[in-house]
Structures are given as structure tokens and as C-alpha cells.
């Protein structure tokens, strides 16, 4: 580890901790009230789910339209385990940790199973399969007894709060950042760039597509689990197709292939409907209008594929802005003959 790396790690840790302390102090003094606190937790959940989708959409370059389905798998399996664990009187952090991990693993396993056949093929098959999966999972949950069916699942311990949601989000993002800056991450990105060329330099494309998609489903499950433990109530209707679309919109708006873009977009798009509450029925109109304007003037998303870093901000904010500007321009055709 050289000096530069160490420095940027320290800067990021300090920035993340500072943000936490500031938010915590504001909450203690009731400047951020419970209502806003709730929005912040939802932003955290959306950051987790959207950045996990960004791994598939932005880094692996495969279209997946059923992320709400993976959220639902994670939410229900972690909630059911959590309800079962109630008698054990575990410390909150352990109870929540075990439940979330279980939700993530269940979601990851299902992601692997449905991803493997679809990812062996080139093209948009994954989009169709995940679209179907998202609907199937919702209908199944609606119709089986132990999930509470359409009446919803109640009695989930309310274990998630601002503090653990915040740190879980930080951990998920740290893992995703570490992943994309490793040989495995580069292999995943090479598939997005050019699948044929990736194979020609020795990347086992099917394997890495499966790895990327499974990790993506795993973290969507964690996000779903966190959601379950914050709401303390689950209703299958929450995880409908619109929820999947909402997550896709966050990723596209933030920039496919930019995790920091996803964080920003998740923040904006989660709070926008709340901010616009004053406009009552015009709310959705404005929301849609913002998206249309965005796609016209910045189709590659806020950050494109550039990443914002505290390090570069401190050294030269101009260089970062230049990087973001450079991202403009359409994508070339990636198909064609060999």
C-alpha cells in the first residue's frame, strides 16, 4: 500500500465519520426531526439497492429489471428469520446482522439460479427473465401462508435505525468500491466494454457475469432486509414492478458505472417526492419532468462513469469537473462482426 492510497483511505474514513457525527448531532438536537430521519434511512436503503443494481447495469453492462424481486426475497427471508429469532434475546447488532446476512444469501442464491441460464446468452435475455422473476416472486409471496399473504407480514422486530442503516450502507459501498478496483472488478467491466474481446484475453465471461449478478442480488437482499427491519411490516405490493423501475431510474440518473453518482441520485430521488409534497397532485408530473429534462441534457447520468472522490476534490475540484464533462457523448456500437 503506497502513501497515496493510505491518504485517500484516511480522507474517506474521516469524511464518512464526520458526516455521521454531523447528522447524529443534528438529530440529537431535533433539528432533523423523526420525519426527516425516516427519509434519511430510506435514502440509505435506496443507496444500497441502487448501487447493487449499478453493479449489474453499470459495471457488468447487463439489463436487469427485477431488483424489487430480490429486495422482496431479502426482506421476507430476513424478516421471517428475525421473527423466529425473537426469543433468543440477542444483542440488536447481532440479531440484525444475522437476519440481513441470511436475507442477502437467500437473494444471492436465487440470483445465481435465475442468472446462470440467462447470462450464458448474449443480449437482453436477463432483462426479460428478471422482469418475469420480479412478478413471480410477488405473486408467490401473495399466495403462501407463512409470508402473511396479501395481508402483509407483521411482528418484525424494529431493529434498524439511522445509526446501523448508515454504517451498513457505508460497508456495502466500501465492499463495492473494493470489488470494482480489483482484478475481479476489471473482469466484470471488461464484459461491459466488449464481451468478445474479454473472452479473447482470457476472461471467463459466463463465470464473471454470474459472480457480478449474484453479488448484485446479494446486496439487493441486504437492502430489502434493512427495509423490513425498519418498517417492521411487509406488504408484497411494495415490491411491484414500479419499485424495480424506481431503482433503475436512480442508477440511470446517477450515471451507469458511477457509485458516487448512484448515492447522489438516490438522495435526490428519494427526497424529491417528499420535497414536492406541497405541490400535491403535480408532484408526479414534476418528478417525471425532471427525468425527461435530465435524459435530454445529460443522457449519461449526473456523473457518467466518473467517480467523485474526497481526495480529488481536495486536490483539484477542476480536474474532477473536467472528468465529468468529458463523459459527454454517445456510446458506440458494441455489436457487429468479429
Amino acid at each position: 500500500m503506497n502513501l497515496n492510497n493510505k491518504k485517500s483511505y484516511i480522507i474517506n474514513i474521516v469524511a464518512v465519520t464526520l458526516l455521521y457525527i454531523v447528522l447524529q448531532v443534528l438529530m440529537q438536537n431535533n433539528i432533523i426531526n423523526r420525519y426527516y430521519q425516516g427519509i434519511i434511512v430510506f435514502i440509505c436503503i435506496n443507496v444500497i439497492v441502487a448501487s447493487s443494481l449499478n453493479l449489474t447495469l453499470g459495471f457488468l453492462g447487463q439489463l436487469a429489471l427485477g431488483h424489487a424481486g430480490f429486495m422482496a426475497v431479502g426482506a421476507y427471508s430476513s424478516a421471517l428469520l428475525s421473527i423466529g429469532m425473537r426469543g433468543m434475546e440477542l444483542p440488536v447488532i447481532m440479531h440484525l446482522g444475522v437476519a440481513l446476512l441470511f436475507g442477502g444469501i437467500m437473494s444471492g442464491v436465487i440470483g445465481y439460479l435465475i442468472g446462470l441460464p440467462a447470462l450464458r446468452l448474449r443480449g437482453d435475455y436477463l432483462a426479460i427473465i428478471t422482469l418475469g422473476f420480479g412478478e413471480i416472486i410477488r405473486v408467490v409471496i401473495n399466495n403462501i401462508r407463512f409470508t402473511g399473504g396479501a395481508q402483509g407480514l407483521t411482528g418484525i422486530p424494529r431493529l434498524a435505525n439511522f445509526t446501523n442503516a448508515y454504517w451498513i450502507t457505508v460497508a456495502v459501498l466500501a465492499i463495492l468500491f473494493a470489488l470494482i478496483k480489483s482484478r475481479h472488478g476489471r473482469a466484470i467491466m471488461s464484459i461491459r466494454e466488449d464481451e468478445i474481446a474479454a473472452e479473447a484475453v482470457g476472461i471467463k465471461t459466463t463465470q464473471y457475469k454470474a459472480i457480478g449478478f449474484t453479488i448484485s442480488a446479494f446486496f439487493a437482499g441486504i437492502g430489502g432486509g434493512l427495509f423490513a427491519h425498519y418498517m417492521a411490516y411487509l406488504d408484497p405490493a411494495i415490491f411491484n414492478f414500479m419499485k424495480s423501475v424506481e431503482i433503475v431510474v436512480i442508477v440511470v440518473l446517477g450515471g451507469m458505472g458511477s457509485l458516487t453518482g448512484t448515492i447522489l441520485a438516490a438522495g435526490v430521488l428519494t427526497s424529491l417526492p417528499e420535497v414536492l409534497r406541497g405541490f400535491s397532485e403535480y408532484r408526479l408530473l414534476i418528478y417525471s419532468f425532471v427525468l425527461v429534462v435530465m435524459m435530454i441534457f445529460r443522457p449519461q447520468g449526473i456523473f457518467g462513469t466518473a467517480e467523485f472522490s474526497m481526495d480529488s476534490l481536495m486536490h483539484s475540484p477542476k480536474a474532477f469537473l473536467k472528468e465529468v464533462k468529458k463523459e459527454a457523448g454517445g456510446d458506440d456500437d458494441k455489436g457487429g462482426n468479429v
Binding site: 500500500m1 465492499i175 473494493a178 470489488l179 480489483s182 482484478r183 475481479h184 472488478g185 476489471r186 473482469a187 467491466m189 471488461s190 466494454e193 466488449d194 468478445i196 474481446a197 474479454a198 473472452e199 479473447a200 484475453v201 482470457g202 476472461i203 471467463k204 465471461t205 459472480i211 458505472g257 462513469t305 458506440d332 457487429g336 462482426n337 468479429v338
Partner: protein
Amino acid sequence: MALLEVKDLTIRFGGLTAVDGFEISIDQSELVGLIGPNGAGKTTVFNMLTGVYLPTEGSITLDGKNTVGKKPYDIVEIGAARTFQNIRLFKDLTVEDNVKIAYHNQMSYNLIQGILRLPTYWKEEKKAHESAMELLDIFDMKMYAKTLAKNLPYGKQRKLEIARALATKPKILMLDEPAAGMNPYETKELMETIHFIRDKFNIAVLLIEHDMSLVMGICEKITVIDYGKIIAEGKPDEIKSNPNVIKAYLGE
């Protein structure tokens, strides 16, 4: 025994026989050219050698191992690297990352070690960085390391693709029209580069080319195909005066 031994290679797409009974034998560190008019089946041969297409008939033996039916990434492991006719770089990644991706199989840390940033990660990443820089230096491209591949000038993109192929440590390098779209000066520079690579890395090179001056200038052996069939084989001088070749290129 030859490094690459191809026998009776045939592929049919429905009723069309694109390549019919192709044969070639390439020794270690030999420079061989494969030429032929447009649509003769040169790239199809390449695609079969690298596992993109599955031949209908025939055998391919690379370094003593059969490669028919193997996936492209397995054939890379055995020791064949290629470039593409219409450059296929990882456009939105940096030049350095383009090369590093080709080092993937030479690194061994696993997913967990990578995410937790254990010492193996740092050690191997450092080594990959150094080897990538060394390789880019050979191609005089060290200063472009942080540039996105799509922002490179055309000639440099061609060079990067060759560098990336070399990073997989191949025993044979297959170049698909490396001089396409280059001006005479760039072509000359490329000829020198190819010669240099062969001597420096001691690998065999198989070259598809339209540019006759390039092929005649550097290849030790040339195979000419037309309509999927071999019409001539031999040294550059013999090829130049072969009536079949002249007929295929210029008509009667």
C-alpha cells in the same frame, strides 16, 4: 513438432462452405502471413483458431493440445492471443486497465482477498502495474497509461490492442489486419514493431493482411486463400510470381 498444426479445417454455414480444407503449420517464433482477396475466409480461419467459431471438420493442435471445441478463454490459456480487424478495446477504461485485464489469469488473489485488501492483493496489483508499465514502455505508450482507450489516436489503439494481446503471455500472436487504415509511415512503423515483438518475446506471429508490402516485407512464409481454399503456399518471392495468386488478386 510445430507449435500450431492445423489439418483439414472446414466450416460450413448452412450450405455455404466458408473455409474448405485449410491447413497450416507454424513453428516456434515463425512469422507467417495469411492473405487473400476480400471474403476469402481469412478472418473465419482466425475465428476458428481462437475458438469463436466451432469448425465443422478438422483438427487444430496448439502446443501439443487440441483446441477444437474449447472456449476462447481456454485457448488463451493454452497460448494463442489475437487482435481484431475492427479494433476491440475496452474503450471506456484506461490504457493501463486494458493491459491489466489481460493479466487477470496471471494473478491469483481471490474475491475475498481482493475486497478485504489483504497483502496478496497489494503485492499482485503492484506487480501487475509494473508489468503493464513495462509493456506499455516497449510500445512507447507509457505516457498514455491514464488515458481512456477511446481517446487514443487510431495508430496507438492498434498498438494497445497488440500490447493487450501480448500481456496474456502467448506462444503465438494472431494479428487480424493490423495495418488496416494506417498510412504508409504508420505501416512501416508497425512492421518494425511486429519484427521487434517476435524477437523480443520469441513468439510466433500469424498475420492476416491486405497490405502486400507489409506481408512481403516481414513474413517468412505466406499462405494464400481464395474462396475458402488454399491456392498457394511458400516464401514471399514464390508467392509474388505464383500465377494463381496473381489471378485471384487481379483477375485474368
